[in-house]
């Protein structure tokens, strides 16, 4: 294949397949937000530091602002919108975040939840330090992380309200 500046991509997002023509330069986060209108994934910086744009790419937590949409061609992506079915019960992490007041403005929360999900998918019983390491790539400017760490620990232990 010779280099192209735009191409058709097929990406499975939250179980649904989407086909779109995108410019090669379009970041995955803008593809999700602007092209697919999945606005739960946020942008908080322009250097890949803040993690607000974290999604799962084939099960791995990645920052969708450091990935081109074309790189995700053929991949499966989960965003925050996948955690709770429409109108259904919240995911234990979501519930724990609410229970423990682990969010204030809520802007970092989608990315934080996806990093936490990635952690618990791989390590169901994390220590506090493991939790902190797992969200090291997610900046929160509201909470000082205290309640976020507690919420993830609570979700891991199943200590969430019904």
């Amino acid at each position: 294949m010779e280099p192209v500046t735009s191409m058709r991509v097929t990406v499975t997002v939250n179980g649904e397949s989407h086909e779109r023509k995108v410019e090669a330069r379009r970041l995955l986060v803008h593809f999700l937000r602007d092209d697919l209108d999945l606005t739960g994934t946020h942008v908080g910086c322009d250097t890949g530091n803040c993690g607000a744009c974290t999604v799962l790419l084939n099960g791995a937590a990645v920052k969708s602002c450091m990935l081109l949409a074309v790189q995700a061609n053929g991949a499966s992506i989960e965003t925050v919108e996948s955690l709770a079915p429409q109108g259904g019960a919240l995911h234990p992490l979501q519930q724990a975040f609410s229970d423990r007041h682990a969010l204030q403005c809520g802007y970092c929360t989608p990315g934080m939840l996806m990093s936490a999900k990635h952690l618990l998918d791989h390590n169901p019983e994390p220590t506090e330090n493991e939790i902190r390491r797992a969200i090291q790539g997610n900046v929160c400017r509201c909470t000082g992380y205290v309640n976020i760490v507690e919420a993830i620990a609570a979700a891991a232990k199943g200590e969430v309200s019904a």
Binding site: E23, R25, R26, H30, R33, D34, D37, L38, T39, G40, T41, H42, V43, G44, C45, D46, T47, N49, C50, A52, T79, V80, E81, L83, A84, L90, Q94, Q95, F97, S98, D99, H101, L103, Q104, C105, G106, Y107, C108, T109, P110, L113, I131, R132, R133, I135, Q136, G137, N138, V139, C140, R141, C142, T143, G144, Y145, V146, N147, I148, V149, S161
Partner: protein
């Protein structure tokens, strides 16, 4: 005292207030279903990209947008010349010559800081807008830049605003008590050459932005945005746009943090308004992180010079004198208010009675400043705390003892400060004791020894915050008596709708402060329902007619202004429901009606009850035949809360500037690696007293967050510039904000000293950050005592500065002098 207490102070209620109920905001936010400004889309909208100056100071020779406009998919452009023709300069608050400064939406004629917008390009996609912006040709004539406020005041310094002819924004003196007398009474006088509070900002994770629509038929703009103080925002914007304030409809829903950084967005927003009108299409602008750091707002940087502190030998503080130089950056915007806001906390927590302050604010070729969490008071509180620790050090006294000796005592509350502010309530000594207890102060010597055995130096430091909430905007008249601002207000509307829905609208613009939840608690208790039954509209919309001149979310005031408005409206609604029910149920009068379980019941016969649904239906859709005494019952009650303020005395610069004072006392324990200057916070406690707490979990969350901001500012966060005026921390690589591994375990404690000046005993809170900055400074100074006893003179202490202190302690002490009297 110029403030009077409300007629009745209710005891803390039994009910939902005081309980940490589930937050209403959470369900949408944890599902990614919040609506932040960048989530709003419109058909045919264009994306805006600003062309920004690479120079800190330069004349604009020419701007050529033709190449940009020729690009397919580009909708249009805007340049400074058009802005100057179509708008008037923004209103300036200073006195002459500072008020001669002309500030427009885009640079006109010259640029004054790197990153200043000089043109805007609108295109079909975000990427294309940036492509086209690169094609805008701007020719500059570089000028010398000045990046230091002290240097900016020197003769011969480059002048930013020729119209003003000087870099001085505002200058004045404050003289309270009898400073000369204090000097005469002193046993010793401690002098400190220079203390410096650095420039940083709380950098909300969501940057600024808006989607702006223009309706040609009604000539009205709608801004879907994240402005956090719309009330004042439109006061800047409407005159500039030569329209009435009602032509600007401001809509916010979820805002990704504000911290004051979203108060002065009006220059950008005016540019967007002009573009929406010019191009006949909705325009959308998203600020990126680098833009935010370089060209949104920073917190005030302040240098304290020639500090003089008369004291008694036992450490009793008699007064202080200081020359403060504040750096406003390139444009004053919210300034010079910072030149007076600090005076809300003139003596900090201490019984200083004699104070002389010479205050000057200057413009520099750096990003403009704006209120940043703890605005202007943080600098002053840091100053008072630094003075306490320097004096303690130089007099060989225990900093804890010196604090306790000088703290304003609980039995002195309400306490009038030397400049007429009234500290409503509080118990600083008790808060300090709790904080010290939490960090194991009694075991400090053992911990020092243990650290030493590991080659580390351990130190403890204390910091405080007085979170003065509910501004009296009359303080602006102490800067400029011509200004027609005073008092404060906030609005809430509470309505009982057709099917019995209780609908609350606020004038505030929360950015994480949980107003929907807290308002619902207050309403629920007054109406006898549960918070679940109270629908609080998310965000702000000027169409709701639920705002007033000072509406917004800033300056720690919701728990007073917001909740007083909610309470006032709810009480009115409750009264109307009682009056209606009394008629319908044939009770003697409204006092015979009890509101509980979502019904209006006769006290004497509770089975005679009118459900709220029936009340709503009767008034709204089934109102024939109601008696005339119910003519004014609308079940739609709007209440404007107005705090009981007087206009301060502009001659003496004296008066009450804020209504409530929440306290935070922090204690910090650090361990320093003497070989590298690297340090770690090993123990930390924050004790909060914000009066009666409506939602303890939310209060604690604010304490956590403010502490994180403080620790970030103390250790990592700084906005330094090079000599050419280039910002050296324009992104999160160099501007390192605390991550989860950076934060120490936080211990929190609290007491409740209900405010006598608010109906619910609440005090505004949330800006407690300053305490942590000082606690770190003090802990470092304590830790470094064994290695030459250096003095910490700056608020920002990264590892390399700590290493410098260790390497050359004498240098840090050079500006400190103690003289006997």
């Amino acid at each position: 005292m110029t403030t009077t207490a409300p007629e009745q102070v209710e005891a803390p209620q039994k009910g939902f207030a005081g309980e940490s109920i589930p937050r209403k905001e959470d369900r949408r936010l944890v599902q990614g279903q919040g609506v932040f400004f960048d989530d709003v889309k419109r058909h045919g909208m264009g994306y805006v990209h600003f062309v920004r100056s690479p120079y800190a100071h330069a004349g604009i020779v020419s701007i050529d947008v033709s190449a940009a406009e020729a690009v397919e998919g580009v909708y249009g452009t805007l340049i400074g010349e058009e802005v100057a023709a179509l708008t008037d300069p923004f209103f300036e608050m200073s006195t002459p010559p500072g008020n001669e400064i002309r500030d427009y939406a885009l640079a006109v004629g010259k640029v004054r800081f790197a990153g200043e917008p000089v043109a805007a390009v609108v295109a079909e996609t975000r990427e294309l807008a940036r492509d086209a912006a690169e094609l805008v040709e701007v020719e500059y004539e570089p000028l010398d830049a000045v990046v230091d406020a002290v240097a900016a005041l020197e003769p011969g310094a480059p002048v930013l605003h020729e119209e003003a002819g000087t870099n001085v924004v505002w200058s004045g003196t404050f003289d309270w008590g009898d400073y000369d007398e204090a000097l005469a009474e002193a046993d010793r006088v401690v002098r400190i050459d220079r203390l410096y509070f650095h420039r940083f900002s709380s950098t909300p994770l969501e940057c600024a932005g808006a989607l702006v629509e223009y309706d040609r038929g009604t000539e009205q703009w709608t801004l879907h945005c994240n402005h956090q103080m719309p009330g004042i925002g439109i006061v800047w914007m409407a005159p500039a746009l030569r329209c009435g304030t009602d032509k600007l409809r401001i809509v916010t829903q979820d805002i990704g943090g504000g911290f004051g950084n979203k108060i002065t967005l009006h220059p950008y927003f005016v540019a967007l308004c002009l573009l929406a009108r010019k191009l006949h299409r909705p325009v959308q602008w998203t600020e990126w992180r680098t833009d935010q750091h370089t060209a949104n707002t920073h917190g005030n940087e302040r240098t304290f010079l020639d500090v003089e502190v008369p004291v008694r030998s036992d450490g009793t503080m008699l007064g202080f004198k200081v020359r403060a130089i504040d750096d406003a950056g390139a444009f004053p915007r919210y300034e010079p208010l910072g030149c007076i806001i600090w005076a809300q906390v003139t003596p900090g927590c201490y019984r200083w009675r004699h104070v002389r302050v010479d205050f000057t604010q200057a413009c520099t070729n750096k990003s403009p400043t704006a209120p940043n969490r703890g605005y202007s008071r943080m600098q002053q509180l840091w100053f008072t705390e630094r003075v306490i620790d320097v004096v303690a050090s130089e007099l060989g006294l225990d900093p804890v003892e010196v604090r306790k000796r000088n703290y304003i005592r609980a039995d002195e509350m309400p306490y009038e400060t030397p400049n007429g502010c009234v500290y409503d309530s509080g118990d600083y000594a008790r808060c300090l004791d709790i904080a010290l207890d939490l960090v194991g102060y009694d075991k400090l010597d053992e911990r020092r020894a243990d650290a030493e055995s590991r080659g580390k130096l351990l130190g403890l430091g204390i910091g405080s915050t007085l979170d003065s909430g509910t501004n009296n905007f009359g303080q602006s008249q102490l800067l400029n008596p011509e200004l027609q601002f005073s008092g404060n207000n906030e609005v809430a509307t509470v309505r009982l709708d057709i099917f019995g829905e209780i609908v609350v609208t606020l004038g505030t613009t929360p950015q994480g402060q949980s107003h929907e939840t807290v308002a619902s608690q207050v309403v629920a208790d007054l109406l006898g329902v549960t918070p679940d039954q109270v629908h609080v509209r998310a965000g702000h919309d000027s169409y709701w007619n639920s705002h007033a001149g000072f509406s917004g979310t800033y300056a720690s005031q919701f728990a007073v202004t917001g909740l007083e408005a909610v309470r006032g409206a709810t009480l009115e609604l409750a009264d109307q429901i009682r009056r209606l029910a009394a008629v319908i149920l044939g009770a003697g009068g409204p006092d015979d009606i009890l509101l509980e379980e979502g019904m209006a019941k006769r006290r004497d016969m509770p089975e005679a009850a009118l459900p709220f649904m029936a009340c709503g239906a009767i008034i709204n859709v089934n109102n024939a035949g109601l008696p005339p005494e119910l003519d004014d019952v609308t079940l739609n009650c709007r209440y404007v809360y107005r705090p009981p303020f007087q206009v301060p005395d502009t001659e003496r610069k004296f008066g009450n500037l804020t209504l409530t004072y929440a306290t935070q006392i922090h204690a910090c324990v650090v361990e320093v690696d003497p070989e590298t200057g690297v340090y770690e916070i090993v123990d930390y406690a924050a004790v909060d007293d914000c009066g009666t707490r409506i939602h303890p979990q939310i209060v604690e969350g604010q304490v956590h967050g403010a502490t994180a901001h403080a620790l970030g500012a103390a250790m990592f966060e700084t906005f330094p510039y090079d000599e050419d005026g280039m910002l050296l921390a324009s992104n999160f690589y160099d501007y390192h904000v605390p991550h989860a591994l950076d934060m120490p375990p936080l211990k929190t404690g609290f007491i409740e000293s209900p405010s006598p000046f608010s109906s619910l005993g609440t005090k505004g809170m949330g800006e407690g950050g300053g305490a942590g900055i000082h606690a770190v400074c003090a802990a470092l100074q304590d830790a470094l005592r064994p290695v030459g006893n250096p003095i910490v003179t700056e608020s920002h202490n990264p590892y390399h500065r700590v290493w410098e202190l260790i390497r050359d302690p004498a240098a840090s002490r050079a500006g400190i002098e103690v003289s006997e009297r």
